[in-house]
């Protein structure tokens, strides 16, 4: 009882200012109302709140896609549901760390992951302040988004090798209201706009309907960190690291490729090396939604880089491919 009164009092005391207090994150203390404290509040909200978010995502010239996204803590277990609302639909469920995918025209399967990798980058669930390695944070200030008071935070690429991201976080709950990705010229490349936000005491009833025993078993994607390639990247943008390594046959073209995934947490980049059989000639590039696809070829091998990065950066990565230096 006493605790409850104290809680209410502390809430009341905080209300007039609505400023976020300073906080110690990973042993470092950050001042009140700093971007780091807001990002941490966003992260905590994603983990702890029962919420239902409706949002739309627009990428480049592609059609706008509406989604519904739910999160709930049911009997201490974190559950998530992401659903695409247009077209034949795709449903992704997460119960604890089991993520199940239901897609039209394919067999359902599950993977092990503590979050769904949807339109909201995984870094915001984990340790967003680590983005400081390659980005700087700017607190822009208060504004109104989706009918609510929002805090605007910019995540700016320090060396211009990546696009800039702007977040609008709900002042009260810390949840996402809007996210923009802009290039250095300020052109909007991608936008996530929340249309409705519902934070509830109890988790959404939807989660009760999931028959957990019917979800497919977890499959393991083979990860092959020890795989030795005879090539390497001599340039990796600052803050990015190799997080996947693989060699496989592509499903639709049946070409065999060697593959690396680079990531800085916010942006993931695919690097493919394949045999050039002369179809792609000297190479080229294109925008697909907010992705850049760039291929270069020396008539022998073809290097293709795909990801949400400026073409200049894609080119620097692609043209840095060289043979492994013997050490």
């Amino acid at each position: 009882m006493l605790i409850r009164i104290l809680l209410v009092m502390s809430l009341l005391l905080n209300l007039p200012a609505m400023a976020l207090q300073g906080k110690v994150i990973d042993g470092v203390s950050y001042p009140a109302n700093s971007a780091e404290v807001w990002l941490q509040k966003f992260r905590d909200a994603l983990h702890n709140l029962n919420f239902t978010l409706s949002f739309v995502v627009t990428r480049g010239n592609a059609e706008t896609r509406p989604y519904i996204w739910r999160h709930g803590i049911v009997d201490g277990i974190s559950m998530e549901h992401l659903s695409q609302l247009n077209g034949p639909g795709s449903e992704i469920f997460r119960i604890g760390d089991k993520v199940s995918f239901f897609e039209p025209n394919s067999v359902a399967f599950s993977l092990q992951s503590s979050h769904i990798n949807g339109p909201v980058p995984l870094t915001f669930f984990e340790s967003p302040i680590k983005l400081a390695e390659a980005y700087s944070f700017v607190v822009v200030g208060r504004t109104r988004v989706s009918g609510r008071a929002a805090q605007q935070i910019r995540i700016v690429s320090e060396d211009g090798s990546r696009y800039n991201t702007t977040l609008w976080l709900d002042q009260e709950t810390g949840l996402l209201l809007k996210m923009d990705v802009n290039n250095a010229q300020g052109d909007l490349l991608e936008q996530l706009q929340v249309t409705s936000l519902d934070v509830t005491e109890a988790p959404d009833e939807y989660f009760e309907k999931i028959e957990q025993s019917r979800l497919p078993e977890i499959s393991n994607l083979p990860n092959n960190p020890d795989l030795q390639f005879s090539w390497q990247l001599n340039f990796i943008p600052k803050g990015m690291e190799i997080i996947q390594k693989d060699r496989r046959r592509l499903v639709s073209s049946r070409d065999v490729v060697e593959y690396l995934m680079l990531s800085d947490g916010l942006v993931d980049v695919s690097v493919y090396i394949s045999k050039d059989d002369g179809t792609v000639k000297e190479g080229g590039w294109l925008f697909h939604g907010s992705d850049t696809l760039l291929s270069i070829s020396n008539g022998n091998i073809m290097v293709t880089v795909i990801g949400k990065i400026p073409p200049e950066t894609a080119n620097m990565i692609a043209s840095s491919v060289g043979p492994v230096r013997s050490s």
């Binding site: 025209n105 190799i242 049946r254 490729v257 695919s270 045999k275 002369g278 697909h288």
Partner: protein, 201 residues
């Protein structure tokens, strides 16, 4: 299978009915399930929502393809005779190890609209819907292949080129979807500080 059951199934596919008993049967009855799949396909077809290349049983098709074909990748940039791992011969097929990964169907719809060739003047091919902006980092004399500046892409190659790039895009999108939180752990840091400072070759 009774006529009424088939009618119910049809109604279910059309979203006119949610009968939990029927759903239970659907999960256990293979014949009913395959009929359900066909109905959805027909519906998608009528609505024009089918992906470009339709493969009903991708997992099987891929497993078979991997089984039957030797793995030939890009030629070695540098032969590594001393290394014990056979670099190119040791393909680990995702689909066989991972079991039923029929995940590609819905992401395979990425369609290349335009592709800007580096050394290509902009109006000489049907592939130029892509925004044309000069890339400052890309030298104009990029290609070691002896192609003159204004030579158009041979038409025969256009379809093949699209197919290749579509396949890569689809694979990228699939990987984005399948990326898990565990992937955040780093495999290796391949470049050191020095090489990051270097100008790429």
């Amino acid at each position: 299978m009774t006529q009424s059951k088939i009618e119910n199934l049809s109604a279910l596919v059309d979203g006119e009915q949610t009968d939990s008993k029927l759903l239970d049967e659907l999960a256990s009855d293979a014949e009913l399930a395959s009929r359900w799949q066909s109905y959805h396909l027909i519906k998608d077809g009528l609505r024009g929502e089918l992906p470009d290349s339709l493969n009903l049983n991708i997992a099987d098709a891929v497993a078979e393809a991997i089984e039957n074909e030797p793995a030939i990748v890009a030629p070695n940039l540098k032969t590594q005779k001393d290394k014990k791992s056979p670099v190119w011969g040791n393909v680990v097929p995702l689909f066989r190890q991972g079991g039923q990964f029929a995940i590609a169907a819905s992401v395979a719809v990425a369609v290349i609209l335009g592709y800007q060739q580096f050394n290509q003047t902009s109006q000489d091919s049907d592939l130029n819907i892509a925004p044309v902006k000069a890339i400052s980092g890309i030298p104009s004399g990029m290609s070691p292949v002896s192609l003159s500046q204004d030579r158009a892409v041979p038409k025969a190659n256009v379809a093949e080129q699209r197919r290749k790039l579509n396949a890569l895009l689809a694979d990228h999108q699939q990987r984005m979807m399948l990326k898990t939180a565990d992937d955040e752990t780093v495999i290796e840091a391949e470049t050191d500080e020095d090489s990051q400072q270097q100008e790429p070759k």
